[in-house]
């Protein structure tokens, strides 16, 4: 891990790896979408509408996975003071908020024809909405504290406080009587979903995860460059100060 702490090494590594990752992402998502629309069967009850699941479920999985990535980065910041952990946290927050938003919106669009309502205040939907609010709060915190190191530590603490929501989301459909359907894939006793629907789902999930990795690496790279720019502008301002100072002393 320490090798990657050097930003220059990280930038070089990302530059080399990123085109391949994008290729893999586009390939996987392409195959996934093909399977979604042309191979996966229509549901016997829901008809073609079930195809929203192939976007909704990967987005939901990813929203929780990204929060876990942020939690690990937060630990990296607080415990190991790993320099790239800060950038990793900051880069992951908007991506997590985006995927959670996609999950909520596609779920809403799916719920209207299936359940007859755009929204219901059951345990699963409410806890995912709270996750969305936590993401927004973290983005607000990043934007409000100007000094990047302070912002990183504050955001890390808030991330760790909020991680309690993730198991609540996962088990909400077991602990409470909810309208949202119970766990069908990651459960005791194995997946309860037919392979013809499981495989497109898993391919879309892998594709979405690869998409997140590509965007995350690009965002970390941007954050490193942004901080270099900030440092350079401070140095330039200091240099300008030194030019002006002697004249000020002569005048005073």
């Amino acid at each position: 891990m320490l090798k990657y702490a050097n930003p220059t090494f990280f930038l070089r590594l990302v530059g080399a790896v990123l085109p391949w990752l994008w290729g893999a992402t586009i390939l996987t998502l392409g195959v996934g979408l093909y399977m979604t629309f042309l191979i996966a069967p229509a549901d016997y009850q829901q008809g073609e509408t079930v195809r929203i699941m192939y976007i909704h479920v990967p987005a939901a999985w990813l929203s929780m996975f990204i929060y876990t990535v942020m939690t690990l980065s937060a630990l990296g910041t607080l415990v190991w003071r790993h320099p790239l952990a800060d950038a990793s946290q900051q880069a992951a927050a908007p991506l997590g908020a985006g995927f959670t938003f996609i999950c909520l919106v596609t779920g809403s669009l799916w719920g209207k024809p299936m359940w007859g309502t755009w929204w219901v205040w059951d345990a699963r939907l409410t806890s995912v909405l709270v996750l969305f609010l936590i993401y927004l709060g973290l983005i607000a915190l990043w934007n409000t504290i100007e000094e990047p190191l302070k912002a990183a530590r504050a955001a890390a603490i808030l991330t760790l406080v909020g991680v309690v929501n993730i198991p609540i989301i996962k088990f909400s459909v077991d602990w409470w009587n909810t309208l949202h359907q119970p766990a069908s894939v990651l459960r005791m006793g194995g997946p309860a979903i037919h392979p013809t629907m499981l495989w497109p789902l898993l391919v879309m999930a892998v594709g979405a995860s690869l998409l997140f990795v590509c965007l995350h690496l690009m965002a970390i790279r941007n954050e490193i460059l942004r901080r270099r720019l900030r440092r350079l502008s401070y140095l330039a301002a200091e240099a300008a100060d030194h030019v002006l100072e002697p004249r000020a002393e002569a005048g005073a």
């Binding site: 709060g137 409000t144 504290i145 530590r153 504050a154 603490i157």
Partner: protein, 221 residues
């Protein structure tokens, strides 16, 4: 221990002198309770049904507004730096400050709740239920809010940000508080179930929030 007792006494004295902390919270509570019938209409049956919820939301918002005073004045005059450098662990300092803050801002809300509940046509068992739930639930609000207050202490206009950070985490306390209050007036849920969970939330936040708040103060202030 003497240091902590002295700190507790200092907080109480400051709150009384700087004026208005507890009383303003109660006045804001009253204003919120007054506004709601203007918006909803004076139908007493409707008000009685949602009365506990209105009282809980008003208590939550009053607590949120009062949280500014928890660390801000100490941060401004430098006493927060002294407290951070002292021998007493910062976590215990935060615990004592939050307890004092609850005594000054949360407890008056609990004492005022029966009176305001009567204004909302909440009666009998429901009234005592909502008062009891507020009594055990407002510490949770104060302690969870302390985390947000500690995170935003060094920001100049951090009030709205603190509310955004704190409110999602107070949702469980709100859910179980209103559930306990409604259960007191009968129904399928026994009163003790949500009430004991609310007690657990308060105790857990009292135990854990000081660590998060102290870490936030050390990293930010």
């Amino acid at each position: 221990m003497r240091a902590l007792a002295a700190l507790f006494a200092r907080e109480l004295r400051l709150a009384n002198r700087a004026g208005g902390g507890g009383a303003m919270g109660v006045v804001f509570f009253l204003i919120l309770v007054t506004i709601v019938p203007f918006a909803i209409g004076p139908d007493l049956n409707l008000l009685a049904r949602i009365g506990p919820a209105i009282l809980w939301i008003a208590a939550l918002l009053s607590t949120l507004l009062g949280l500014d005073r928890l660390f801000l004045s100490d941060h401004e005059d430098g006493s927060l730096d002294l407290l951070e450098m002292a021998d007493t662990p910062l976590e215990l300092v935060v615990l004592v400050k939050c307890l004092a803050h609850w005594a000054v801002t949360g407890l008056p809300l609990v004492l005022a709740a029966p009176l305001f509940g009567v204004m909302l046509a909440v009666e009998g068992d429901a009234l005592w239920g909502v008062t009891a739930s507020l009594a055990v639930g407002t510490p949770a609000l104060t302690f969870i809010g302390a985390i947000g207050a500690a995170l935003t202490v060094s920001l100049r206009r951090g009030g709205l940000l603190m509310a955004i950070l704190v409110l999602p985490f107070t949702v469980p306390a709100l859910i179980f508080g209103v559930s306990a209050a409604s259960a007191a007036s009968g129904g399928t849920v026994p009163f003790l179930t949500p009430f004991l969970i609310l007690c657990a939330l308060s105790l857990a936040s009292m135990a854990l929030a000081p660590f998060a708040a102290a870490a936030a103060l050390r990293s930010g202030g």
